[in-house]
């Protein structure tokens, strides 16, 4: 029903406007603010693109991990309690896998250029290649 371009594409256009057209004309203290604003628009665009899938996948993982139903928020609370009580820790491969997947999915939206995020992605891509060769 909604027409195109989609919101994420419009945000990308606004970010380009800020960076390419407006920033060169701004005084130095305003350039910093404009850069932060452009980065914020990029983040929101990524959230529109990936947010729903990322939360849906996290929700599914939590249902399996905790073996119960509930909203995403309820399950996150439940997981936190089980970690606090010592019932689950990083020695559990299922918990480690869930926390890694969740953390990397958040970074994909929040800060995909962060150095340790890139490093983790490269390490995972490398492992997959090695496994494929074997």
């Amino acid at each position: 029903m909604l027409d195109q371009p989609h919101g994420a594409d419009i945000l990308a256009a606004v970010a380009r406007l800020l960076r390419d057209t407006l920033m060169p004309r701004l005084p130095p203290d305003a350039v910093f603010q404009a850069r932060v604003a452009a980065n914020a628009l990029d983040l929101v665009a990524r959230e529109i693109r990936f947010g729903e899938t990322v939360e849906h996948e996290a929700h599914q993982r939590l249902q399996v991990l905790l073996n119960r139903d509930g909203s995403l928020q309820e399950l996150e609370n439940e997981l936190s309690l089980r970690i606090r009580s010592g019932e689950l820790d990083l020695q559990s491969p299922e918990l480690a896998a869930h926390l890694w997947a969740t953390t990397l999915a958040k970074m994909k939206i929040d800060q995909p250029n962060y150095a340790s995020y890139r490093r983790e992605l490269e390490a995972r891509a490398g492992q997959q290649q090695t496994q494929a060769k074997e």
Partner: protein, 333 residues
């Protein structure tokens, strides 16, 4: 200039003329940082229009500051006490008194140099000193251990368990369940380090961004507002925290060098061994401190205390911290 600024500038002129011998005015007054409760101003004392002395004013115009911070009066007293300690610090010229009419704070001699960490890491003019900075950091921290804490103004005592309890309460009060934080908190509770026989001066925010650099290296360590008595491993670990590596992942010490270089320089200067397990513990605790700080920014934003885009974006840096915690807890950092 608004009339408030005008009054402030005139008052500062009167105070400067009184405390700097020969000065009859000020010039080049500019604000370096614009916190609501803590301001930093740069200016020059002048005589007959000619430059006389470069100055910095650190002041609180009134209002409540974080309970974690020292009073500016205590901070000034601490910096004065460090003048002969081997730790490079600015020279405090004057501690404000009520009759000065400028609020709480102090004046110090301005030290010229670079304070922006990215420039230290990237600009060619610092290429020559970069390889030596990690050892300098270690030597400065080593000098802390030779300071008799009884000769310092009264500072709060914060050991690992004190800091952990505070962070944990702060996290609870935010009311957002964070499974990665829970894993880190549990690890921190289970791996608490033993009590020390001797606690030392701790800067509390020892990182590149709180130092002034010149062509010869570190000229001064600034921002002593969260200094305390505690575990020397805290400062050794804090400067290894990921947020100030600026992408230089494999140079944990502020994006400049290795932990080993830092520890060796510390040991040479202090004559004391670094317990690397203890330093590792403090890296996790420091990362947690950064994370709880980012997570608190959400409250600033939603409560209307600070609704800037910048604040919102800092709040979204919690995920960066969760990644750093995952890396350090699984041994990849």
């Amino acid at each position: 200039m608004s009339s408030v600024d005008e009054t402030f500038s005139q008052t500062l002129q009167i105070v400067t003329a009184r405390i700097v011998p020969g000065a009859d005015g000020i010039a080049n007054l500019r604000r370096l940082s614009a916190g609501a409760t803590l301001q930093t101003w740069s200016f020059d004392a002048v005589a007959g229009g000619a430059f006389l002395h470069p100055l910095i004013l650190r002041r609180s115009p009134g209002g409540l500051r974080s309970s974690e911070s020292l009073s500016l009066e205590t901070e000034a007293e601490l910096i004065r006490a460090l003048a002969t300690s081997g730790v490079p610090v600015p020279t405090v010229v004057h501690t404000l008194m009520p009759e000065d009419g400028l609020g709480d704070g102090f004046l110090m001699t301005r030290i010229e140099g670079e304070t922006i960490p990215r420039k230290i890491l990237r600009d060619p003019q610092f290429a020559e000193i970069r390889p030596r900075l990690t050892a300098q950091f270690g030597a400065i921290l080593g000098a802390f251990s030779r300071i008799d804490t009884a000769r310092l103004p009264p500072l709060p005592f914060k050991s690992a368990d004190v800091i952990l309890a505070r962070l944990s309460n702060r996290y609870e009060s935010l009311g957002v369940a964070r499974p990665v934080f829970e894993v880190a908190f549990r690890w921190l509770r289970q791996n608490a380090p033993a009590e020390l026989r001797q606690y030392r001066l701790v800067h509390g925010d020892f990182r590149n961004g709180n130092m002034i650099f010149g062509s010869e290296g570190v000229r001064a360590v600034l921002d002593w507002e969260v200094a305390h008595i505690g575990d020397p491993a805290e400062d050794l670990a804090w400067i290894c925290a990921p947020p100030w590596r600026f992408g230089e992942l494999d140079r944990p010490v502020g994006g400049l060098g290795s932990r080993q270089e830092l520890f060796e320089a510390y040991e040479a200067a202090s004559g004391e061994r670094v317990d690397t397990a203890r330093a590792h513990y403090w890296e996790v605790l420091g990362s947690m401190r950064w994370g709880v700080g980012c997570a608190s920014m959400l409250e600033w934003f939603t409560s209307g205390r600070d609704q800037t885009v910048e604040r919102a974006m800092i709040a979204r840096r919690v995920s960066e911290n969760e990644l750093d915690l995952m890396r350090i807890l699984t041994g990849s950092d």
